[in-house]
Subunit: 188 residues, 2 copies
DNA sequence: AGGGGTTGTTTAATTTATTAAACATGGTAG
DNA sequence: CTACCATGTTTAATAAATTAAACAACCCCT
């Protein structure tokens, strides 16, 4: 079990664009501490390490499970170039449109432009997958159910939840609802 | 970030049918150390904790990944509850507003409602961080520069790129530009 | 009842991490 | 060029973790 704590901390700190001093201040420790840890000249107590990671912020679990991500290609997309995800979602009721930014080859992030006609519904069988997702409503209203919680969201409102919890979207209004959502890792 | 190291260690040790002394011997530390750690009367250095876990055996990642479900979080957000990220971005020119869905403690996904006044600009020094990001324009126009590529995007248009490539957002139009973006892992 | 074995806990001495402040370097503006 | 930041590094003083050994409690056996 070799895990280079110093290198890992340095990597994460730099990924977040923080200097040793900046991180130290946010974490409530001194810059010297960060320096010594990154050189593996001292091994932080987990309470110290926890303080440091709270300045990132990042959990201890995330810190010790290192993983990396790959790079994509097309950068700009005209409105018409968004990919319509047709029929990918089974069990939907009414007219639902999911338009995706880019294909999702080797991507951790899925961004969708979603439209729900009045009465449209992702279906009685609740959605469930291993992701985090969130979004912001642009137009109309949507009723979102997450687990045992339910809420009506309007323009400017937003949501965020763990996708492992069963969820469902329903347009119970009488105008089309439009929203933009993001999901990591991708669902479809 | 509540993580009870003592309780966790005790749980694991007992699950493996080891006494404090037995574990201590296999780990190469003293029984007193184990006792103090389990009572949270001392916070082990990660090097100590690693030694202890080698006696189980178990990795640090496994130790900190408590496989119980996440605690109840805020799911729904009224428009006014989005968190304004003020002054977090240095070097911006003109009026820029970043409103975030939820705090981002222990989250991999950051969703922002961004507004750029006419002339607003993320600045000469290009942005750069270890993420993937993308978004969709709702209103107005934005000029996006990514590496050596530049494009003017309007309502319905979108973008997606590797955030390690230097990038910059500029509203070169004469009306406010509004867009919704997502980023994983979070930037700020 | 009394040993001998285990268990987890505590305490003073020691080792180690952490602090606060200085040091050294590099870039940038005047 | 000098002055001035900001960066990461080092060092003596302090705070904290770790050790080694003793302590108390419990169980089992004769």
């Amino acid at each position: 079990m070799e895990f280079d704590v110093g290198a890992r901390l340095k990597q994460i700190r730099e990924q977040h664009g923080l200097s040793q001093r900046a991180l130290a201040q946010r974490a409530g420790v001194t810059n010297g501490t960060i320096s010594l840890i990154e050189q593996n000249r001292s091994s932080p107590s987990v309470s110290s390490l926890r303080k440091v990671l709270q300045g990132i912020p990042m959990t201890l679990a995330e810190f010790f499970s290192s993983d990396d991500l790959p790079p994509p290609e097309q950068i700009f997309f005209k409105g018409g170039e968004l990919i319509e995800l047709a029929g990918e979602l089974k069990g939907t009721v009414g007219q639902v449109s999911f338009r995706q930014v880019g294909d999702l080859r080797s991507r951790n992030l899925q961004i969708l432009h979603e439209r729900y006609a009045p009465g449209a519904d992702t279906g009685r069988t609740m959605l469930q997958h291993e992701s985090e997702e969130g979004g912001i409503v642009i137009k109309g209203q949507i009723e979102l159910t997450v687990g045992d919680r339910k809420q009506l969201l309007g323009p400017g409102d937003a949501y965020f939840f763990d996708s492992r919890v069963p969820h469902r979207f329903r347009n119970i209004g009488d105008v089309e609802c439009e929203l933009i959502s993001a999901c990591t890792p991708p669902y479809l």
